[in-house]
């Protein structure tokens, strides 16, 4: 026989204005198994909770129903109060007689009757409730940071400085990301490398950070606090421990004409190379696609000249397994591919370049040592056109969003150009100028007023070459749409930003324990990327501040009667195919000789989120779910319909 307590809340007058609370308490107090029933003005208040706790002790209650507001509001409050009075919190249920009753119905007998029905349902349900214990899962206090751009660097340093271990995976031979390619940064025109390189070095030297460059995440398994990650370390054809980074190999390599990705194709590099002089780690990799030895089977000049014998032609990729508790995705962005802009001649005319290439031209360490020279003939362009929103905010191109940072970097480019080519004329075609940020609007103004940049509001329709000039055709919408034609020497497209999509096996961003940082989430400039990274780092640190995670135990369970061969589960594993969390595992039951006699499904409590889809699907009703078990649900239905 149960000893249930019913507590009916007036919620001031929010409930009692339309529901007769005394009557609800009185009638439901007469239900079988109800030991105690009362009503009170504010159950959630301190005296209300005290009343609840004392009643639990005094009447030795083994179940509690609080009829009040939505459980989405105060279920945790009352469950906690029950626990404080020594009652298992999962033996407490709430009837929602406010949002679902008193607030939506008029003051009449029907409304009070409905409240009684709702209480009766929960009284019957609670009789079937089981005392449950919160699930505890251990936390591996190591974080994985995927991507070594400024966002990944910031997140890694913040987490490492909190005293936790960090594993950083970067696809390229060096960390640094796009920021390492930038010349100077808006709105202060700070030298990008000067801010970035010290942080890159800090990552490499931090005792808590392990860096894997030229590596990629191959798979992610597991769940919050307990991820298992496979990392593929691509072969660098190099013994990194022996290599001192002297660079002799890179100067002797006979392959010298490979387009340099870091310079956006504006310069060349050898087959054994370091992507840029300040690279971290500052050790070369062999690009096997272009290396003479890998193509023709002979050369090995690098091996011959290497003073420490560090070259390893037969080195293979290595796949390592790591265990981490949290993952920060900081994979950044890509700039749009060339084939998007046939009408702008991008990829066809050498002097139509994108914003990143312009950064390289403007960079003191770039292919022209910072002089703005056009790629085709090395001439200094006297008229240069910047096309903002190239591809962004253009449903025809399939990209409806604003890339956000292009307004700012275009203004920066025009300004840098004018600072370097005093007699040149920069033009900017734009749609709107979006410069919301500290000192951003002032920066754009300076570009227009002090650096005399011609801002034309309108889109460019086409660009073609004529007599060594690029003819840029567009319209000026502020002048009534009059056609504009500019004979330019060079064109820079502010191509849009595409967030890089993380290659993750299970569910992506809605997976607990996986956080996003930087431009992989949405277009962001450096300050925003850094802020987001620190935000993600705090989340990770908060997660790591406990040795264990506690979770509600409202998860699925497979009936596993002893001996388990008698389980209702027939091992069809339909449940496995519908589980969104890969929480269903296989459990083999063996006899004494070690032979498998039955295979059962087993729910991994750490992974299960308690949706119950497997329960509905199970053909033999072998799976059930705590808190919403078949028995509980049927009882609720019966109680609701039979008064």
């Amino acid at each position: 026989m149960s000893r249930i307590g019913v507590f009916v809340c007036h919620c001031g007058e929010n409930i009692s204005a339309t529901v007769n609370c005394e009557k609800v308490a009185k009638i439901t107090g007469e239900l079988k198994g109800v030991e105690f029933a009362t009503d009170y003005k504010y159950m959630c208040s301190d005296p209300g909770q005290t009343l609840l706790k004392e009643a639990i002790k005094e009447h030795k209650l083994d179940g509690v129903v609080v009829a009040a507001c939505s459980p989405r509001m105060h279920e945790p409050t009352f469950r906690k109060a029950c626990a404080e009075a020594g009652l298992n919190p999962f033996l407490c249920e709430m009837s929602n007689i406010r949002e679902h009753c008193s607030w939506v119905h008029p003051k009449d007998d029907l409304t009070t009757e409905k409240a009684q029905d709702l209480v009766r349902v929960m009284v019957e349900k609670v009789k079937k409730n089981k005392a449950l214990n919160s699930i505890k899962v251990p936390v591996t206090k190591t974080a994985l940071v995927v991507g070594g751009g400024i966002a990944g660097i910031q997140a890694a340093l913040d987490i490492a400085n909190c005293g936790h271990k960090v594993i950083m995976v970067e696809r390229q031979p060096s960390i640094g990301g796009h920021m390492s390619q930038l010349s100077e940064t808006f709105p202060t025109l700070d030298c990008s490398q000067c801010i970035l390189t010290p942080r890159m070095v800090e990552v490499a030297q931090h005792p808590n950070i392990t860096l894997h460059t030229y590596s990629e995440v191959e798979s992610v398994d597991g769940f919050i606090g307990n991820f298992k990650v496979k990392i593929r370390k691509k072969s660098k054809s190099l013994d990194e421990h022996l290599c001192t980074g002297c660079g002799l190999c890179t100067t002797k390599c006979p392959q010298k004409k490979i387009p340099n990705e870091f310079e956006r194709g504006l310069g060349f590099r050898p087959a054994i190379y370091v992507p840029f002089p300040q690279a971290v780690p500052n050790k070369p990799v062999i690009d096997r696609e272009h290396c003479t030895y890998y193509i023709k089977g002979k050369c090995k000049v690098c091996e011959i000249v290497c003073p420490t014998k560090a070259i390893r032609f037969d080195q293979e990729d290595e796949v390592i397994d790591v265990a981490v508790g949290a993952i920060v995705m900081a994979t950044g962005f890509d700039v749009l591919k060339t084939d998007y802009f046939p009408e702008y001649g991008y990829g066809k005319y050498a002097d139509v370049i994108d914003g990143l290439a312009f950064e390289r031209l403007a960079s003191a360490s770039g292919p022209t040592q910072g002089e703005i020279r056009r790629p085709s003939d090395g001439q200094i362009p006297k008229k240069i056109v910047f096309v903002a929103c190239a591809g962004s905010r253009d449903p025809a191109k399939g990209i409806e969003y604003c890339s956000k940072i292009c307004c700012m970097y275009t203004a920066k480019h025009a300004m840098l150009y004018k600072h370097k080519v005093h007699d040149g004329i920069p033009y900017v075609f734009y749609m709107d100028i979006r410069a919301g940020g500290k000192n951003y609007e002032e920066f754009v103004r300076r570009t227009i007023v002090e650096d005399e940049t011609q801002y034309i509001r309108g889109r460019v329709s086409t660009i073609y070459e004529k007599n060594g000039k690029l003819i840029v055709k567009g319209a000026d919408t502020l002048m009534g749409g009059i056609p504009i034609e500019i004979e330019a020497d060079m064109v820079v497209l502010a191509t849009f930003f595409a967030e890089a999509h993380p290659k993750l096996k299970p569910v992506e961003t809605n997976t607990a324990g996986i956080f996003l940082a930087g431009a992989c989430q949405a277009p962001k400039d450096i300050p925003e990327s850094v802020a987001a990274a620190s935000g993600a780092a705090v989340k990770v640190a908060a997660l790591f501040s406990n040795d264990e995670l506690t979770r509600d135990p409202l998860v699925a369970v497979v009936n596993r009667s002893a001996p388990p061969v008698y389980s209702q589960c027939v091992g069809c594993f339909l449940c496995q195919s519908v589980c969104p969390y890969q929480a269903i595992e296989r459990e083999e039951i063996k006899n004494r000789n070690g032979e498998v006699i039955k295979t059962l499904a087993r729910v991994n409590e750490g992974l299960c989120q308690g949706c119950g889809t497997c329960v509905a699907l199970c053909r033999t009703k072998a799976i059930d779910i705590h808190g919403y078990s078949n028995q509980q649900v049927y009882t609720e239905i019966m109680a609701l319909l039979n008064d």
Binding site: S70, N96, H100, G612, I637, L640, L641
Partner: protein
């Protein structure tokens, strides 16, 4: 004669429709008191037996409501529910229950007004169809009649 007041059970998910019904309350939108809600984690949890149990116990109508497609808290539960409903419709026909007695809908946590509409429309519809009186027959007689399960 007293007007027929149907008994309607609503099976809703915790994350969207339950919260949507909470919003109906917070916004003080009035609706008919015939409908009573039973909360589930997800519509994906709701199987045929649950619906049959409701009819067996005298429900005149049922509402099943969860998150909109692609908004499921558990990513795919509502798709399973939808697919199951398509199959279940045939079974309902087979047992001789008017499929109109079950209303399937998506109500998000922001759709307080929609929840009131769903309830009121269902009540109206069930009033037109009339009470469901064969409930004591469905559990045994229809599914396992002597001729072997045919739907005559």
């Amino acid at each position: 004669m007293q007007e027929f007041e149907p008994k309607i059970v609503a099976f809703v998910c915790n994350w969207c429709t339950y919260a949507g019904a909470d919003l109906t309350g917070t916004s003080r939108i009035k609706y008919s008191a015939n409908v009573k809600i039973i909360r589930f984690p997800c519509t994906g949890r709701i199987d045929f037996m649950i619906l049959m149990k409701a009819f067996e116990n005298g429900a005149d109508g049922i509402i099943v409501s969860g998150c909109h497609p692609n908004d499921c808290h558990y990513s795919t539960g509502n798709f399973h529910a939808r697919r199951r409903w398509i199959v279940f419709r045939n079974l309902l026909n087979f047992t001789g229950i008017d499929t109109e007695r079950i209303q399937f809908s998506w109500v998000s946590a922001a759709e307080g007004f929609k929840w009131a509409d769903v309830v009121n429309n269902t009540v109206k519809k069930i009033k037109e169809i009339g009470p469901y009186e064969n409930y004591n027959k469905i559990a045994v007689s229809t599914l396992f009649n002597e001729e072997g399960a045919t739907n005559e």
